[in-house]
């Protein structure tokens, strides 16, 4: 009887999980296995993949060091910059804003998602391009200002594009913060600044870690923003991959780079979780 019920429950569970599992298997696990195989192969003379077992592709990684360097530097830097802008915004929304308008203000944060990131990044291309801000500056006598195709432009695009993804988790963790804890802190003699660093910030760290991890991981695979706002000059791994797969059709080398990137992401994620657990003191930290 009990066994029959368990079987039934297992069947229901299986039925519920099956679509997602099938999806992940076909579109995540299989491609990843293919990439692993490709990474140890050779480029066929006409392009694509030719079976082999060699570490030559990994030995070649240093030739794309700039792309790795840009990605590993600008992705965390962009995430931290996002954090610096997002925390005060989230704090204001969750703590200071009039509760009556809170929902409207929070939805304003999400409004940019109604338009495609591509369109919004194109807009920045024009704003930063020679007919945009540099043109206005030239009118007042400041000549030859270069904004587009610089690391600064890429960072700006990153902060602009990913800010909502940083604001939301921080907002959520601040919003559920028990106000009486802040009163208790004040009651025990803590000035507002001490209360912030002693209570508010530590209790919102799970949200901060979630936001930083989320934005960093997405940025590690970023292609669009460096392509449009960095020109050929600020090159991310994503851009290198597009080149290798679509232009020079060197699939094995592209696969080796992609596999290395995934390995780096996994390590970054694990380190970030360790830090989050240590700081928050619990294991109840959701990173993604």
């Amino acid at each position: 009887m009990r066994a029959a019920m368990n079987t039934k429950r297992n069947l229901v569970t299986a039925a519920l999980v099956a679509p997602a599992a099938a999806w992940l298997f076909v579109f995540l696990v299989l491609p990843f296995v293919a990439m692993l195989v490709f990474a140890f192969g050779e480029r066929a003379p006409e392009g694509g993949y030719q079976a082999a077992f060699t570490f030559a592709q990994f030995a070649n990684l240093p030739t794309r060091a700039t792309a790795f360097w840009n990605t590993l530097l600008l992705a965390p830097a962009g995430a931290l910059l996002c954090l610096v802008v997002a925390y005060p915004t989230a704090y204001h929304l969750a703590v200071k804003a009039n509760p009556r308008y809170r929902l409207i203000l929070v939805s304003l944060v999400v409004v940019p998602f109604w338009t495609s990131l591509l369109v919004r990044t194109y807009a920045w291309m024009y704003i930063l391009g020679s007919r945009g801000i540099p043109n206005l500056l030239a009118m007042v006598g400041i000549e030859d200002v270069r904004l587009l195709n610089t690391p600064g432009a890429v960072l700006l695009g990153i902060v602009y594009g990913y800010l909502p993804l940083m604001i939301m988790p921080i907002y959520v963790s601040l919003e559920k913060l028990d106000r009486r804890l802040l009163e208790a802190s004040a009651d025990l003699g803590a000035k507002p600044v001490s209360t912030f660093f002693g209570v508010t910030l530590p209790l919102s760290l799970p949200g901060v870690m979630t936001g930083v991890a989320l934005v960093t991981i997405l940025l590690l695979g970023e292609y669009l923003i460096p392509q449009l706002l960095g020109g050929g000059k600020v090159f991310f791994i994503g851009n290198a991959l597009v080149d290798l797969f679509l232009q020079s059709r060197n699939w094995p080398f592209g696969s080796a780079i992609a596999v290395t990137l995934v390995a780096v992401v996994v390590v970054v994620l694990m380190v970030a979780m360790r830090i989050a657990w240590r700081v928050a003191g619990t294991r109840q930290v959701d990173l993604v």
Binding site: E183, A184, S185, G189
Partner: protein, 359 residues
């Protein structure tokens, strides 16, 4: 008015408004140094607002609040010499027990040495008998233990006044009784003023030496527990503090007597000062005796009997007056001592036990 210096807390004509809503008004209260005062009243009566004005979480719209003789209007919570035990405790979930207790000490300026902080935190934890729990996390502690942590955290700074916001409401009855005794002895040990907010009249009467009964944003009576119970200032107090029977009555013009609604006339109690006209009489259930005597003042029929062990509660349908509650102590173990439901019975009481209020 007593001088401010002998009072740890003083409210002078305090009112608090939120927009057009008046939370409390006309609050005048003086709490002597070292007293244990209870703010007692139904929910929404403004007792918590008063407590929060002492703590500094609310500022009065009118009037002045003094702590230790110093005016406190405009002084933020973190600069007041008071500490609070919050309802649901408000312990810091990211800190362990010792860090929670040490939190207040770490805020002190000039800074206290780490060793001294640890020593004082341990002392406070020992005081609430949690000596061995310093490294526990808050969520690993039971409700009663969390209550003690909150208490230790609040007394570690040696405040002039300790504020307690319904501190025992979340505990079960047995634990609550134990904590009541513990709070009382803690207060004697520390010698500081305690202000307790509660809606539980038993808690207020048993723990405090001064009760301030509040209703609809005002203080309706202040006095020692016994005085509140024995000489309620209004029908509300008589009703809210303890159980009471309400009887419609008339004070006879000129004559020194009270006529109950069923026509029975009784001598007016000496301290009743009501003028002639409609009145309400409050009578405690324990001041009535049931007697098998058909000449007793009131006659009725027993409708229910609730056996409570040391005493018995009866519902009696009194002729012409309706339901009465009567509490009888058991004087013997003789079963015939108990009146039976359905039995005709006489009710006798001292007319001086009546509290007469204008209707």
């Amino acid at each position: 008015m007593t001088s401010a210096s002998t009072n740890d807390i003083e409210f002078r004509s305090v009112a608090k408004r939120y927009g057009s809503v008046t939370a409390v008004s006309d609050i005048n209260l003086a709490v002597p140094k070292g007293a244990f005062v209870a703010l007692l009243g139904p929910s929404g009566c403004g007792k918590t607002t008063c407590l929060r004005m002492i703590g500094g979480f609310e500022q009065p719209s009118e009037g002045m609040v003094y702590i230790g003789g110093q005016p406190m209007n405009g002084v933020p919570a973190y600069r007041r010499p008071v500490n609070m035990v919050f309802q649901q405790y408000a312990l810091f979930p990211h800190l362990d027990v010792e860090q929670n207790v040490a939190y207040g000490l770490k805020q002190m300026r000039p800074r206290i040495a780490a060793a001294e902080i640890a020593r004082r935190a341990q002392e406070a934890l020992d005081m609430v008998r949690l000596g061995g729990f310093s490294k526990r996390r808050i969520h690993e502690m039971s409700g009663g233990q969390q209550q003690r942590v909150a208490l230790a955290r609040a007394i570690v700074n040696k405040p002039k006044v300790l504020l307690l916001d319904e501190p025992l409401a979340a505990l079960d009855k047995k634990l609550r009784t134990a904590m009541q005794i513990e709070l009382q002895s803690l207060q004697r040990e520390l010698g500081i003023t305690f202000v307790l907010v509660t809606h539980d009249q038993e808690e207020a009467l048993s723990m405090s030496d001064l009760v301030s009964v509040m209703n609809t944003g005002r203080i309706v009576q202040v006095g020692p527990p016994q005085e509140i119970y024995d000489r309620p200032a209004s029908l509300f107090v008589a009703d809210f503090v303890g159980k009471t029977n309400r009887i419609a009555a008339t004070i006879e013009p000129g004559a020194n007597s009270v006529r109950l609604a069923n026509g029975v006339g009784l001598a007016k109690p000496a301290r009743a000062n009501g003028t002639a006209g409609a009145a309400m009489v409050a009578l405690r259930p324990e001041s009535i005796s049931l007697v098998r005597d058909s000449t007793a003042t009131l006659q009725g029929t027993v409708t229910h009997r609730i056996f409570l062990g040391s005493s018995v509660e009866y519902s009696v349908e009194v002729d012409g007056l309706g339901d009465f509650l009567v509490t009888a102590d058991r004087r013997s173990i003789d079963e015939s001592d108990l009146a039976e439901p359905g039995e005709r019975i006489g009710l006798r009481f001292d007319s001086n036990a009546m509290h007469v209020f204008p209707a």
